[in-house]
């Protein structure tokens, strides 16, 4: 990802309540699945990035719970749930 400081600043404006455990996980062994590559481009919070080993990693902090990656990757690749009640992003304006 090129310059994402803009994005980080924007995400920093949101109210997030800490999520105890990640609500979205890449299923073990599927880190190189091509569907994950597409999530790099589709996630509006830029949470999917390519690391130096050429595998995709997911940073859950900042998740907007929009559902895009579930539609991009499908449930074979992602174990996808909403965060537990009362945690995660809390939109004040929406």
């Amino acid at each position: 990802m090129s310059d994402n400081s803009n994005l980080k600043t924007k995400l920093g404006k949101n109210v997030f309540k800490p999520v105890k455990e990640p609500h979205i996980r890449i299923r073990p062994g599927l880190e190189k699945d091509p569907r994950l590559q597409a999530a790099i481009y589709a996630c509006p919070a830029g949470l999917y990035t390519l690391n130096s080993q050429g595998t995709v990693q997911l940073e859950i902090d900042g998740c907007l719970e929009c559902g895009t990656c579930r539609i991009v990757c499908g449930t074979e690749v992602l174990e996808w749930n909403y965060p537990a009640g009362g945690t995660g992003v809390q939109f004040r304006f929406g």
């Binding site: 090129s2 939109f91 929406g94």
Partner: protein, 432 residues
């Protein structure tokens, strides 16, 4: 396990409209919401058209307007075609839209959903926040309750208003995870600006609002567009892009960059100057229209709002919230009818389908069923905004040489081949 007559999953507009209607009829309804408060997980562009929903929640008028649950009445509609070097805007102002009873309002869901929840609670509906529905409880195939926050809650009927991904409908077997070509992602910033400044920048009267849609090169050949809505003291600026196109239209580009580039455009940047971004939100939207609908009822289950796929993009208008409100109310009415017979089987609850078919929800989706195919034309999002820009550029342009006649100027841009292609594209449009 604790039992209620109805459990509603999700305190969005569908769920709260259902809760309000049920409570009003003396039916015991509990809304289970995973956010800290209603609206905490919801986002809209957005704007609400009033006419379709007035008769569904008649006694909430005029409180909806008086108690400031909505932002600004949209008096000015703008449509902007964006090309790399040009932009062409159509500005439409309507006196009728600007005066009571008003046509549409800009909306912030953090405000509207909390207001509607309060109204439903005043009627007697129960609201449980900070609780995520984890499982459906079923007996012989019939839905008889949910597990929320580790606790079992029973109900005669569950109404799934849990949004575009609807895990409830999915768990009930009524739908499968969606495909990228049938969904778009919308993402936006809310940018605070003093209300007087908004009125000056958009040439609006006091408390009047503007809605601006943007088509063209801002999506770089992808299905989608941009939007700008003026709220009371903020601007909602965002984009909608089809998920499939983010995955496979080249050159690939990260979604957030589209919005950054859009914000930096000379048409947009001055409108936002001095404003402060206070929130960045995103949400998936159903884009399949009529073709994407599911059967919205089963034994002990009704599905309303985005969860049922009730959303309609006709290009100039993009609607979801009216469908959510109406379908929530109709689901409540269907339950009331089933309750008279003490029968909550699929065949008894299927009266919901009948109510939907008699309403604008089903009829609009059906009327515009060809819209997704017409809109699925890259020329609309790339070529035409560019062409319109070129035509105006050459009409306005004065060069060194004597100027050509106007018709010849236009014909130079729109030759026979182009005219033929326009006709072909229009033919698809006539089906809308």
């Amino acid at each position: 396990m604790e039992k209620f007559e109805v459990i509603i999953v999700g305190a969005g507009l569908a769920g709260l409209s259902a809760a309000y209607t049920l409570a009003q009829n003396g039916i015991e309804a509990v809304v289970v919401e995973r956010g800290d408060y209603p609206g905490a997980k919801n986002a809209t562009g957005g704007r609400l058209y009033l006419n379709p929903v007035k008769k569904y929640l008649p006694d909430l008028w005029p409180a909806l307007l008086e108690e400031k649950a909505l932002e600004r009445p949209v008096a000015v509609e703008l449509l902007t075609m964006i090309a790399p070097e040009t932009s062409t805007t159509l500005r439409f102002r309507s006196g009728e839209f600007a005066t009571p009873p008003y046509h549409s309002f800009t909306v912030l869901r953090g405000v509207l959903d909390r207001w509607l929840a309060k109204k439903a609670q005043e009627k007697g509906a129960l609201l449980v926040t900070k609780n995520r529905v984890e499982e459906l409880i079923r007996e012989n195939g019939k839905v008889i309750g949910v597990v929320a926050g580790g606790e079992e809650l029973g109900a005669e009927t569950v109404i799934a208003c849990d949004g575009v991904l609807s895990f409830v409908a999915e768990k009930a077997g009524g739908r499968t995870p969606g495909l990228p070509r049938n969904y778009a992602v919308g993402f936006k910033e809310v940018i605070e600006l003093p209300s007087r400044r908004i009125e000056e920048r958009f040439a609006l009267g006091e408390n009047e609002g503007a809605a601006n849609l943007f088509l063209g090169s801002l999506t770089k050949g992808r299905f989608g567009g941009g939007f700008l809505y003026t709220n009371r003291s903020s601007i909602s600026l965002g984009m909608v892009l089809r998920i499939q196109d983010l995955m496979d239209v080249h050159p690939l580009q990260e979604a957030p960059r589209f919005l950054d580039d859009f914000k930096a455009r000379p048409e947009i940047a001055p409108l936002l100057a001095g404003g402060e971004t206070v929130e960045y939100s995103a949400h998936v939207l159903p884009e399949a229209g009529f073709g994407g609908l599911i059967r919205p009822f089963a034994d002990g289950l009704l599905v309303a709002g985005d969860a049922a796929g009730f959303s309609l993009n006709v290009g100039l208008t993009v609607r979801g919230m009216e469908f959510a409100i109406a379908s929530g109310v109709l689901a409540a009415r269907a339950f009331r009818q089933a309750r008279e017979k003490r029968d909550f089987s699929a065949s008894s609850l299927s009266v919901y389908q009948k109510f939907l078919e008699e309403s604008f929800v089903w009829q609009d989706l059906k009327t515009f069923q060809h819209a997704p195919r017409f809109l699925d034309n890259p020329r609309l999002f790339d070529h035409y905004p560019q062409l319109v820009g070129e035509i105006f550029q050459s009409l306005f342009h004065i060069g060194e040489d004597p100027k050509q006649r106007l018709f010849a100027t236009v014909k130079g841009k729109v030759g026979w081949g182009e005219a033929w292609a326009v006709l072909k594209d229009l033919r698809g449009g006539f089906k809308i």
